[in-house]
Symmetry: C2
Subunit: 85 residues, 2 copies
């Protein structure tokens, strides 16, 4: 069994995990039910993970968490635009 | 600098990242804006990560992803209850 593909699959699914949520907010122009704490908590978590990845010299951990962080910034911007509408 | 604390901090923040979202859905009894694709994608991702952790014998990866998966199951149950209200 190609175990590294399992690892890559898990990494891709979670790294881009907020993309469907971003698409839904963008499409519905609504974000009232989204928890901003969840978005901020994940953002802080990905920053710490990326720092840790930098410390241990792991390019995969750095890349995955920087990409995740970018999607979270997009999600937070959309949340701020649409949560009151 | 205690780098392992940075890693643990990142792991705790992301592992329990959906807890505030679960609390918000439970409190507001509303989940219309939540993307079920995001919840399912993260669920699948954590299963693959846990399998990969099992393969490489990493208890931290297994534990973090099993805990995440449990929170995601709770989030999916709440989404199914409240997304149509």
């Amino acid at each position: 069994m190609e175990w590294y593909l399992i690892g890559i699959g898990g990494a891709l699914l979670t790294t881009f995990g907020f993309v469907p949520q971003i698409i839904k907010m963008h499409r519905t122009k609504s974000a009232r039910d989204i928890s901003p704490v969840t978005l901020l908590q994940f953002s802080a978590g990905t920053i710490l993970w990326a720092l840790y990845g930098y410390h241990i010299g792991d390019v995969i951990i750095i890349s995955a968490n920087v990409i995740s962080f970018i999607t979270l910034v997009a999600a937070i911007i959309l949340y701020n635009s649409y949560s009151r509408k």
